[in-house]
Amino acid sequence: MLTEFGKVFAFILTAVMFVLIAVFAAKLIRPARPTKEKLTTYECGENPEGSPWVKFNIRFYVVALIFLIFDVEVVMLIPWALVYQDSGMLGFLVGAIFLILLGLGMAYEWRKGDLEWARPKITPLVLTKTEPPEEKQEKELNLGE
């Protein structure tokens, strides 16, 4: 007996087959004449500088951490949503408490400044007259050395 998941599996297999054909069929007809110049990394026509795996801003990592927490909470919410209509007042209270906790977590992240993308203002105590603080420059990525 072919179950519904069997059909999903068959669909996925067919999709994989189509993808493989799409990617590999062209191998038969396309040219392959690599030269050293062709195989260099694109960097606006200049010779590539240093390692391609540059350092990137720690904020991306923080975003991933916050995502992890809230995504687990989405998963927790789904079973509640499915039985909510049968559970009456109690169900509402349980859900409300859960959502309030979630909102508090959110407020905490917000207050801590983890959701700010542009750099938080750093005002050093001793300010010599030099250039303006660089918070406007959108330096999300530290291009390394």
Partner: protein, 343 residues
């Protein structure tokens, strides 16, 4: 119905849907170019075939004949795997989206969905999260700075909007009490479309869908002025085509989801009161599904050619500080509606 017949019907449906999806994707690229031309007061493709209708095939053949260049610094295996993941994910999701009611054809009852899975929504959520890997791995494996930055940006963007997408779906599940897409469609009978009952959830889902498919105004991963091609800078030939196709396939999936979850799926309000023959009703309903799908797709294209791109901090602020609280409010709103009116 014997096993052989079930397998035969399923196979026919699978092949039909996948080939239709490929065809729709290729013609979507054509319509994108035609609509962009129309918006910008140009003519658009008009040389290949009648009114340029053969343009998609010309594009595919051109890409097939291009040399496939893998840069020296790239990780060859992952470089090959990434576009395949992206395309495979984009095409597999359609397995659970229902495009019509159950029909009687040649003496069989055929539900017009490939697989009537009782956790279809979870399946969709799982697969759309997988699509992040395609872009991230592509960015990482290319061995190029632009690709890396584009890949990291896209992963951060997609996971940020996935949260509000998940919470918006929570509001839908409250009303349908089921993860089956068909049950979700049936819970929106008459004018009880989720887009009307929970407009906030509809908007957050719509915006998240734009962000998840990396369409303008959220196409930061491939912002041309700053990042060249973003994650696909170092891709050429059919691997590039795979990314290109997956973007359009993702648009179709997103539109299909929006129609299923918020616009009543294949349903036409109160059509059963007219007393039409059931075959005609089924046909009209499939037509309604396609019409809604095309309308949303047109909206995708329209927005792309009308709005400018966000700045990255604006994008993250919108995702976390606007869409996320709004989707929370939406859940509470729906829960209150059910408490008060017992919907």
């Amino acid at each position: 119905m014997g096993i052989g017949e079930i397998i035969l019907i399923s196979l026919v449906k699978i092949l039909l849907i996948i080939s239709l999806l490929f065809l729709t994707v290729s013609y979507l690229t054509y319509f994108e170019r035609k609509i962009s031309a129309w918006v910008q007061n140009r003519i658009g493709p008009n040389r290949v075939g009648w009114k340029g209708l053969l343009q998609p095939f010309a594009d595919v053949f051109k890409l097939m004949l291009k040399e496939d260049i893998v840069p020296e610094k790239a990780d060859r295996i992952i470089h090959l795997l990434a576009p395949m993941i992206a395309l495979f994910v984009a095409f597999s999701t359609f397995a659970v989206i229902p495009f019509g009611p159950e029909v009687h054809l040649f003496g069989y009852d055929i539900p017009l969905v490939v697989a009537d899975v009782n956790m279809g929504v979870l399946f969709v959520l799982a697969l759309t999260s997988l699509s992040v890997y395609g872009l991230t791995l592509a960015g990482w494996s290319s061995g190029s700075k632009y690709s890396l930055l584009g890949g990291i940006r896209s992963s951060a963007q997609m996971i940020s909007y996935e949260i509000s997408m998940g919470f918006s779906i929570g509001g839908v599940l409250l009303l349908s009490e089921s993860l089956r897409p068909i049950a979700i469609v049936e819970s929106q009978s008459g004018w009880m479309w989720n887009a009307i009952v929970q407009p906030i959830g509809f908007i957050t889902f719509l915006v998240s869908a734009f962000a998840e498919t990396n369409r303008l105004p959220f196409d930061l991963p491939e912002a041309e002025p700053e990042l060249v091609g973003g994650f696909h800078t170092e891709y050429s030939s059919m691997k590039f085509a795979a990314f290109f196709l997956s973007e359009y396939a993702n648009m179709i999936i997103a539109s299909g989801l929006i129609v299923t979850l918020y616009l009543g799926g294949w349903q036409i309000p109160y059509i059963d009161l007219l007393g039409l023959p059931s075959g005609l009703v089924a046909l009209l309903q499939v037509g309604a599904f396609i019409f809604k799908l095309v309308a949303i797709l047109f909206f995708f294209l329209w927005v792309r050619w009308s709005l400018p791109r966000f700045r990255y901090d604006q994008l993250m602020n919108l995702g976390w500080k606007v869409m996320f609280p709004l989707s929370l409010i939406n859940i509470i709103w729906v829960a209150l509606l059910i408490m008060i009116f017992g919907l």
